[in-house]
């Protein structure tokens, strides 16, 4: 180790190189210990009080005895105060333990309703009508794939809490090449996002249509930092009509990720039922639509959340309080929204962004069009509100 100066980036890279460490015991061995210890703990609890009392008494006798022998009457306070301090320490520990269990209970309560993106990957159940939307929308997207003009990549926000899909133009016929170019040319920091790309991976086109192969090296830091990588990949896959992603390690099938485990392919989720909020790092930074980490049970709930402030730095509601609706209906692949009478629709960037947030939220539920009824004006920038609006292929297009 010769270097005498390091920067943060180098240190982080080095921290990520720390090896994986495993418990060498088997599951049943661990269970055996856990079981034995639970029993032993109960026994120890019973023995603790007399043991503590005996130790304290001995300590008291020893210290008192020493002070009497030395004739130091002024030191009489010392053992008492020490004894009290010990008692207080024990109480502090007890209090801490009870706080901790309160905290855990509290956390458990809080988390009952929360469903995050990790959990969504496992959620395979879809309602019949949603499957219908899905298959139809998929067909539509396959048509778009043939004429690819743009490519989308998922980029973590400044705090790596959200993955923002960013769409850039691309003339490349090869899907893999289009992705590599987009990742190489991404200006994440200028956009107010994390400087994430390019990644230490090789992307190539697969043998099948709309298939890509992602190869990682054995010591790739992405194997450990797989949560963000797989989430970013999911957003990348979602808007590029990619049908399958094959993982390899140095050309061999599969990647053994630290958290996701061994994956040979990526499970592709096209309809995550997320709400699109607004992300903006600073007042002067570019604004993007950011899919929520939470999935919603219904389009009504998802739309309502567009007006709520999640209280997360950089993330704000995408629909202002001045826009409201009385009724939401599903009509085949079109979502129909009756705007309230007091809704103000202006021909502004803010209103356009709000409508786009509604469009992409609807898209995440499998809709292809959105029609707004009762709008006070018919045109918001290039959006024609007098007819159903066809949802664009991908959000956050950067020229």
């Amino acid at each position: 180790m010769k270097k005498s100066q390091w920067n943060e980036y180098e240190l982080i890279k080095l921290l990520q190189k720390l090896p994986e460490v495993e418990d060498k015991r088997s599951r049943s061995e661990v269970y055996h210990h856990v079981n034995n210890r639970s029993i032993r703990k109960r026994k120890q609890k019973k023995n603790w009080i007399p043991l503590f009392a005996a130790t304290a008494a001995l300590l008291l006798v020893a210290v008192l005895g020493a002070s009497i022998l030395n004739g130091e009457s002024t030191d009489k306070k010392s053992p008492r105060s020490q004894f009290i301090s010990m008692d207080q320490v024990e109480k502090q520990e007890d209090k801490k333990e009870s706080n901790e269990s309160d905290y855990n209970t509290e956390k458990a309560k809080e988390n009952k309703a929360a469903v995050e993106s990790d959990a969504m990957a496992d959620e395979k159940e879809t309602l019949n009508d949603e499957e219908d939307y899905a298959s139809k929308a998929e067909a539509n997207e396959s048509d778009q794939a043939a004429n690819r003009e743009a490519v989308t990549i998922g980029v973590p926000d400044d705090q790596s809490n959200y993955i923002i899909p960013i769409t850039v133009s691309s003339a490349s016929a090869s899907l893999a090449q289009a992705l590599v170019e987009a990742m190489t040319n991404a200006k994440e920091e200028a956009w107010g996002l994390t400087d994430y790309y390019p990644l230490d991976i090789t992307i190539s086109d697969g043998a099948e249509n709309n298939q890509i192969i992602i190869d990682l090296s054995e010591d790739s830091p992405l194997i450990t930092l797989d949560s963000t990588f797989l989430a970013a990949l999911q957003e990348t896959v979602k808007y590029n009509q990619i049908e399958s992603v094959v993982f390899t390690t140095n050309g061999q099938p599969g990647v053994s990720f630290s958290h996701a485990g061994m994956l040979k392919t990526l499970e592709i989720s096209k309809f995550d039922k997320k709400a699109f909020l607004l992300y903006q790092l600073h007042e002067t930074s570019r604004r993007f639509l950011a899919p929520s980490n939470i999935s919603y049970d219904s389009i009504t709930d998802a739309l309502a959340s567009l007006k709520e402030d999640p209280g997360i730095e950089g993330i704000s509601p995408s629909v202002p309080q001045t826009i409201g609706w009385d009724n939401v209906r599903e009509h085949k692949r079109t979502l129909e929204i009756d705007l309230s009478n007091d809704t103000r629709i202006d021909d502004t960037d803010e209103t356009k962004t709000a409508i786009e947030a509604i469009l992409f939220t609807a898209k995440d539920f499998g809709f292809e069009q959105v029609q707004l009824f009762n709008a006070s004006i018919n045109q918001v920038q290039e959006l024609d509100l007098s007819a159903p609006i066809t949802i664009p292929a991908a959000p956050n297009y950067i020229e």
């Binding site: 180790m1 010769k2 270097k3 005498s4 100066q5 390091w6 920067n7 943060e8 980036y9 240190l11 982080i12 080095l14 921290l15 990520q16 190189k17 720390l18 090896p19 994986e20 460490v21 495993e22 418990d23 060498k24 599951r27 049943s28 661990v30 269970y31 210990h33 856990v34 210890r37 639970s38 020490q82 301090s85 010990m86 320490v89 502090q92 520990e93 269990s101 855990n104 209970t105 956390k107 458990a108 309560k109 988390n111 009952k112 309703a113 929360a114 469903v115 995050e116 990790d118 959990a119 705090q159 809490n161 450990t224 930092l225 797989d226 949560s227 963000t228 630290s258 958290h259 730095e313």
Partner: protein, 182 residues
């Protein structure tokens, strides 16, 4: 075997064990604490139903168990003398390197040792963020902190590690390779 234990083990054992190992630096201690974590979790699991934050919930229990270990290790005498302020006490590094680290190159060994020049809070943040790969939001949930506190602590931790790494660099020879700062 308890089905809850079985499920938790499958999903989180690897992560929890690794987190604890990097916190305490000893396999035998990490083995001991991870068992304690299961005991605490199994005791309160019936009150927990949320799936999404199970991970951060478990990490928070693991961290508390690790802190309890350090507290016990120090002993009550030292606790009274040091005013019970554990978080401000860096842990001195006198142990031999574990096998997994000993086979790594000098820089990785150096960062491993430097990690323990941080306070417990700083070390928790660094391990959660860069070794376990948690986001700032998840780390804040584990530690029950605000995101800005996570960011500040992360920054200070990296500063402490940088200082230690640079000290080591200087110690390890006069031939110094100068690298410009960012």
């Amino acid at each position: 075997m308890d089905s809850v234990f079985q499920e938790l083990y499958e999903k989180y054992h690897k992560d929890l064990y690794q987190f604890l190992f990097y916190m305490v630096k000893k396999h035998e201690v990490a083995e001991d604490i991870v068992q304690e974590v299961y005991i605490r979790v199994l005791k309160s699991y019936d009150r927990f139903e949320g799936k999404s934050s199970e991970k951060t919930w478990l990490y928070s229990i693991a961290r508390n168990a690790a802190i309890d270990y350090f507290r016990k290790e120090k002993g009550w005498k030292q606790r009274l003398l040091e005013n019970f302020d554990l978080d401000k006490q860096p842990v001195k590094d006198v142990q031999p390197l574990p096998e997994e680290i000993a086979i790594q190159n000098a820089e990785v060994q150096g960062i491993y040792q430097s990690l323990h020049s941080c306070t417990l809070d700083q070390r928790s943040v660094i391990i959660l963020r860069y070794i376990q790969g948690l986001s700032i939001m998840e780390t804040a949930a584990v530690l029950d902190w605000t995101e800005s506190k996570v960011k500040t602590t992360q920054h200070r931790a990296l500063k402490a590690i940088k200082k230690k790494m640079e000290e080591k660099g200087r110690e390890e020879g006069n031939s110094i390779e100068k690298i410009p700062m960012e």
